[in-house]
Each structure stands twice: as structure tokens, then as C-alpha cells.
């Protein structure tokens, strides 16, 4: 069946709302055809990853839409930008990059998007409700919205998310539809000690392994002993969406569409069942470290953006201590969370420690790191996954306390904790 457009869609296509809106609708309709949609549906919110400055092309695209008078018609938040609008001078960002990234930010603000500038809008903004149809970009936010909130979004790529926000419409396909949200891959733990499941870095490691196995399928996690908090779900999802293309996972007894195994699979049989053993996870954990040595120049936390709860966990670890002069400690977060953390008195211990905070962006999306920084350490699987290729630098994956101890000592310190014992 071919795509059927409503008369209001055709009017936009024909220019009734200006050239910018017509361009957005043209792209949206062509994509609906590519994806085999037969109709468009309304959305009630959007999150825009197109805000990332990736060179002149993304800037020209944003300015073309804005100059054509395009404006968003649903509440729309903005993902990270290409620059920390007010703090970039403290780092190595070239001024030409900063000014072009700033122009791109202005174009999206001119279209009526909210200047949240975070990859984790669910930390401070009104959250979409269960079953709500939305169009979100940013792989880690998409998997969180679908899996943890039970809202419905396809995996919107950069360039298309803004078209959805401008038109308020999306192709009725994929994860927008009930029947496509059933689990596909049944994931069972095989002999993984409880102490390992309770390890702080377990969600990141599991997610990193699972992304490679699931690719773009919907995994269903079964038989875990822990009840994860939101930051653990954030880390799990972000890891799977980096090593794979997972946009939705179910966790029996934890996520809203998975009260039972039967519910998670919508009564169907899994396409495949996989068992994960301890050595699969040991290997996955080892993969997140690209550097064997103890050299360390920068500890970086906050991908996806650091939450208030994470600031709350970090502050006591830093209190009364001071970083080694040869190591910087950077936290990346949204400007909203930074403000709340500041008001909660959580930033003082950081600043006294000698740590720094960057908002609006992250180390992967702005060229902020000076060349003398060659060795990084992080507790984020997403940072660890992308650092070697995007930044051409070495990285060590560790827990939050490993990261702090290393920043104090000036060289990589890792406590394998339950991983080491289980290995022994």
C-alpha cells in the first residue's frame, strides 16, 4: 500500500507554512516512502540530535530550515551542541569551530527549540508519558525513552528528528506501533555470581556485550538479581546503543512493558535465546579498555550526561582531597543539572578537588581536548567505546571510585572487585 497523506500534510508540502516547513515535509515524506509507511501519525514531543555541529553541512542544513521560516510545532528539547556556549575558551576549541557551532545553536533556538543542550533531557525536563508518541534523536536518549519510560519513538537519525518536530508528524512504522515492540532476543544469565551482577560497572559491561549480540533487535533481560536505578538503566542502554543499534530493551520485572516474560514477548516465542556467561562479560569489560599502561592525563565522567544522583555519589569521594597536578578531572552534564547540583552544594567539593565541569556538549562532540591529553579514564561505556576512534586517544574503563583514586594518584588505579575474585 502506498503512503496516504492527509490534506493538512499536502498543504505543508505545497508551502502553506513556508519554504522551511515544506522542505521538512518533503524529507519526511520521502523517508516515509523509503520505510514503507502507509500513513503519518501525530507526535507530542521531540528531542533533536541534529543540533550537533558536524561541519558546514549540518550548519547549512539548520540555517536553510530556519531561513525558510521553519518552527517546531511540538515541545522540543535540544541534544548536545558542538560547543559549551560559555565555557569553551577554557579548553582547546578552535574559535572558528566555536563560532560556527554557536551559529548552529542559534538556528535551532530560532526554530523554537528549548535550549536544554543535553543528551539526557529526561533528567530535568517534563518526561514523555507511557505510550506517548514522540520523535527523539540521540541513541542513548532513544533507548531510555522507549525502554525505561515506555514512550514510543523510532531511532531518529540526525537531520530527520527536526523534520518531525517542524511538521509534528512521523511515519507510522517501527517502534511507534504496538506489534513491533515485542522482544526478539531472550537473554539469560548463566552462572554469573551475584556479586558481579551487583558490581557498579555491571550494567555498562552487560550493555556493551549485549549491543554486539543484539545489533538492532529487541533484547529481553531475564533472571537478573538486581533492581537497577535510573542511572544504571541509562548506562546499560547507552552501552547497547553504542556497540549495537538497540533502541528498546525489556528487563523482566523492571521496565514498564515487561511485567512478565510473556508480556515482554507479547505472547510470541523469542527469535533466539542467548546465554551470557562470565567470560563473555570479562571479555566485554576488557574491550572497553584500549590502554594497558598506567599513564593518565584526564578522567572524564558523564556520558550520557551526569545526573544529579551521580553528582551526589561523586561529591563525598572528592571531599577534602585534591587531584594530582598531572591529571584533570572533567564532568560533562546538562546546564540544567549543573544548576541544580550547584544549588544543592554538590559542586563545591568538585571545584575544591580541582575538577572541572563542561555543559552543553561532551568530549566526543566538541574538539575541546588539548593535544597533550593522550590517556583518558572513564566509568562510561559510551565514552570508552568511542574515544579510540573519535578522539584517537587511549582509554581505560573503571568504576567511579577507580576514576577518583586514579585522579588523586596521577596514574591508573583499578580495583577489579568482584570481577577479579570471580575470575580467580
Amino acid at each position: 500500500m502506498p503512503l496516504t497523506l492527509e490534506s493538512r500534510d499536502r498543504a505543508v508540502l505545497e508551502g502553506a507554512k513556508g519554504e522551511g516547513a515544506a522542505l521538512a515535509m518533503r524529507i519526511l515524506v520521502r523517508m516515509a516512502e523509503v520505510q514503507g509507511a502507509t500513513r503519518l501519525i501525530d507526535i507530542s514531543g521531540a528531542h533533536i540530535d541534529s543540533s550537533l555541529y558536524m561541519g558546514d553541512a549540518t550548519l547549512e542544513y539548520a540555517e536553510r530550515l530556519a531561513a525558510g521560516g521553519a518552527a517546531v510545532v511540538v515541545p522540543t528539547t535540544l541534544n548536545v551542541a558542538g560547543v559549551d556556549a560559555h565555557g569553551w575558551q577554557e579548553w582547546a576549541v578552535p574559535s572558528e569551530w566555536a563560532s560556527k557551532a554557536r551559529r548552529q545553536m542559534d538556528a535551532y533556538e530560532a526554530m523554537g527549540c528549548k535550549p536544554t543542550w543535553t543528551c539526557a533531557p529526561y533528567q530535568t525536563e517534563q518526561r514523555p508519558g507511557f505510550g506517548e508518541q514522540i520523535a527523539w534523536g540521540e541513541s542513548s536518549a532513544i533507548v531510555f525513552a522507549n525502554s525505561v519510560l515506555g514512550a514510543r519513538t523510532e531511532r531518529y537519525p540526525d537531520l530527520l528528528d527536526i523534520c518531525a518536530a517542524i511538521t509534528g508528524r512521523v511515519p507510522a512504522i517501527g517502534l511507534h506501533l504496538d506489534e513491533n515492540r515485542a522482544g526478539q532476543l531472550h537473554v539469560r544469565l548463566h552462572g554469573i555470581p551475584e556479586a558481579v551482577q551487583e558490581a557498579e560497572d555491571f550494567p555498562s559491561v552487560l550493555g556493551h556485550w549485549l549491543g554486539g549480540v543484539a545489533r538492532s533487535r529487541i533484547p529481553v533481560l531475564d533472571g537478573l538479581v538486581t533492581i537497577p536505578n535510573e542511572d544504571e538503566l541509562k548506562a546499560l542502554g547507552a552501552a547497547m546503543a553504542s556497540s549495537g543499534a538497540v533502541a528498546l530493551f525489556h528487563w523482566i520485572g523492571t521496565t514498564p512493558e515487561a511485567p512478565s516474560l510473556d508480556a515482554a514477548f507479547q505472547g510470541r516465542s523469542p527469535e533466539e535465546t542467548v546465554e551470557v556467561a562470565l567470560d563473555d562479560l570479562q571479555r566485554a569489560r576488557a574491550e572497553l579498555t584500549s590502554s594497558e599502561g598506567e599513564d593518565l592525563d584526564l578522567v572524564v565522567l558523564g556520558s550520557p550526561h551526569f545526573s544529579l544522583e551521580e553528582f551526589r555519589a561523586l561529591a563525598p569521594l572528592l571531599k577534602g582531597r585534591r587531584r594530582h597536578p598531572g591529571v584533570r578531572l572533567l564532568v560533562t552534564c546538562g546546564r540544567g543539572v549543573k544548576l541544580i547540583a550547584q544549588q544543592a552544594g554538590l559542586l563545591e567539593p568538585l571545584l575544591e578537588f580541582g575538577a572541572e565541569v563542561t555543559v552543553d556538549t561532551c568530549i566526543l562532540t566538541t574538539p575541546m581536548l588539548p593535544s597533550e591529553i593522550g590517556s583518558l579514564m572513564t566509568n562510561s561505556a559510551k565514552y570508552a567505546h568511542y574515544t579510540p576512534s573519535l578522539l584517537d586517544r587511549r582509554v581505560v574503563f573503571g568504576t567511579l571510585s577507580d576514576c577518583v583514586e586514579s585522579a588523586v594518584e596521577g596514574r591508573v588505579r583499578r580495583d577489579d572487585g568482584p570481577w577479579g575474585i570471580a575470575h580467580g
Binding site: 524529507i27 531518529y156 537519525p157 537531520l159 553504542s242 556497540s243 573519535l390
Partner: protein, 139 residues
Amino acid sequence: MADRVLPGHPIVEGVAKGPLLAADEPLSFWGGYDAGTGRIIDRTHALTGQRAAGAILAIPETRGSSTTTAVLLESVRQGNAPAGIVTRGTDAFLALASIVAEELYGKGFPVVSLDDEGFAEILGAAGAEILPGGEIRLD
């Protein structure tokens, strides 16, 4: 060996000819493709270090980041995009980059999908050409 023609499904129409770069491994263009050189930079990928600009790139699908489209669009602007891309099944990200490139710069690139069997065949081919209607000639 005689040339063989596979019946592909045209996701974005067009024709293209170039050296073939094929691997049975998904690729994220963000962190995996350098728009300034057209090289594949994901060190864990089978095609790492190879220049895909002007080539027919065959990968099963994209993976990971939703920024793949932006990187690919920038590579079109800089003249470093693959001449055509072949996937196993429809990959919307690749199609989008081509569609927006056509709107902004008047030049996209063909995107063709193959079924499992066809994709397995292209993996073993020496060269490939994308013909009108999504057909792919292997040699």
C-alpha cells in the same frame, strides 16, 4: 567468470561505479568514517583504514549513533562520500543522508538493499556496479 547481476531493491535511485569495499559488519559513520578523507576509521571494523570515498560500500547496516547521517552528509559536501552504498535490508540512516544531500547540494548517492543471499554474494565479489532500478552487476 561471467558477470552476474543481482536484483537489488533501490532505496534511493541512482547509478554508481567504483571499487568495491565489502564487509559483513555494521558500521557507525560517527566515529567510524572521516568525512574529511573518506576513510573508515573505526579501528575495530574489518574495513578500517580503507578509503570508501568514490567506492561502492557494502555493509549489512549502520550501527550505534544517530549522527551517522550528519557525518555522511558532510562527506558528500566535501566530496568524500561513497559512490553508492549496498546494505542487507533497508537502512533508513543511509537513505536519509542521500535524500538530504540531494536537497542541499543537488547530489545524493544510490542506496540499494539486497536480500541475505544477494548480500552474501556481494561479499565475495571483486567489483560491483549499481545499475538503474537497483540492479547490481558483480565481477
